[in-house]
Symmetry: C2
Subunit: 249 residues, 2 copies
């Protein structure tokens, strides 16, 4: 089976690497960003192009949501399977006469950070049993965690991930901004952050909540508001309001 990966961003890089590491040959990595594509191709020792899209049985589109539809039009072949890796797009966004599927890896990908691909949950949605079997087989070579998902469910999986990952990381950014401003090393907070995550393996997050808002400690909440401004102050107020609502304080 000939497989082509389209894209040169974080997802394209890590998926291509996961395939190569699991001895799944790639016919090509294709992308408009010639420099990035060449860099990935060189590291993983796979063919690459920014001009000629290779003939393949399976095309895996790993580009930003805004570009998926346009990129999908580059594939004129009909007898092939085309998948995208987006959490929020229906498979029908793919604009060709080929078979269409969704192949969604639930993970946060940064090029400079190595990943244990075996733990990534993959969510698959296909048009027919044959394509489903093919994609399950492929994902199962990378991960032990392969599941089916409808578009309806996948949207909510992605939305949950935005709260549990993207927003959590942004809180780390704002936290570090505060500690940096006082020349407090952010390393001090790593054991606390580790424990915050360890806890939810054993306790429901709702039962694990600590801090001034859930104690309704008005004096501390007011003190903190005086120390904050702009976006961090907005986050502080919004989160405390939400905590108080959840615990009916």
């Amino acid at each position: 089976m000939q497989i082509v990966i389209i894209g040169s961003g974080n997802v394209a890089y890590h998926l291509a690497k996961a395939f190569v590491l699991n001895n799944i040959p790639l016919a090509q990595i294709f992308g408009r960003n010639e420099k990035e594509v060449a860099k990935i191709a060189e590291e993983l020792k796979i063919p690459h192009s920014s001009e000629h899209l290779e003939d393949a049985d399976l095309y895996i589109i790993c580009v930003s949501d805004n570009s998926v539809e346009d990129v999908s039009k580059l594939i004129s072949k009909k007898d092939c399977l085309v998948v995208h890796t987006s959490g929020s797009l229906p498979k029908e966004i793919l604009a060709g006469e080929y078979r269409k599927s969704s192949f969604y890896p639930l993970q946060t990908f940064s090029k400079s950070k190595e990943l244990d691909y075996g733990k990534i949950p993959f969510f698959i949605e296909a048009e027919n049993e044959e394509d489903k079997k093919l994609l399950f087989g492929l994902a199962s070579k990378i991960s032990k965690n392969v599941m089916e998902s409808t578009y309806e469910k996948r949207k909510y999986i992605h939305l949950t991930a935005v709260f549990a990952c993207n927003f959590v990381n942004h809180l780390f950014s704002r936290a570090k901004e505060i500690s940096d401003s006082q020349e407090i090393p952010f390393d001090y907070f790593l054991p606390l952050i580790d424990e915050t995550v360890q806890k939810i393996y054993e306790i429901e997050p709702k039962a694990a909540q600590t801090g001034p808002a859930v104690r309704n400690d008005v004096r501390v909440l007011e003190l903190h508001e005086q120390l904050l401004k702009d976006e961090s102050l907005e986050i502080y107020k919004t989160m405390n309001h939400s905590i108080k609502k959840m615990y009916e304080l």
Copy 2:
């Protein structure tokens, strides 16, 4: 040296346990909640009372910020050291004629979750060198991570911790609320959450940011807003606004 711990909540329990596990004898655990104090005392095999405060050289007050001042008035003795464990109170809130210090463990404590005490950063502020030495010696028996901190700095350490721990945990609660509503097991998100934290050991959180807001993916942001309501929608808007501001989008 006679040491008494005052309180029966999460911090009192874990500090008492850390002392006992590190062979630092406790003269008493004292608290108004008779049932909770008795429970801790029984587990840790230490004396307890809800009525008679034992004579001691060091009193460690582990009660909620709102109660620290009142509780500190129970100690009529003058020739002793009294400390509180709050991140946000000055040591001067302690209302007696004894020596006063702050003994702040930077961690999230839940009774039902075991902890590796050796990794907890302790921040100490004392009136004189002797008390500082005493408290450093004590904390160093529990943890490898003992530092001095002024009240000014401690306030910001606590504030940073609220963002990096309390708010992160609340995001997990709201995330779980979303996945629960669609009968999506929250376990699916644990590898993603682990990776989100692993990343900040290697990459600055600002450089590690992923997700629709930092890509300014308007279509996805609008789709997500349609799926949300009430506090979760408020959090979604506030966090995305803050992300866009940070990356000047």
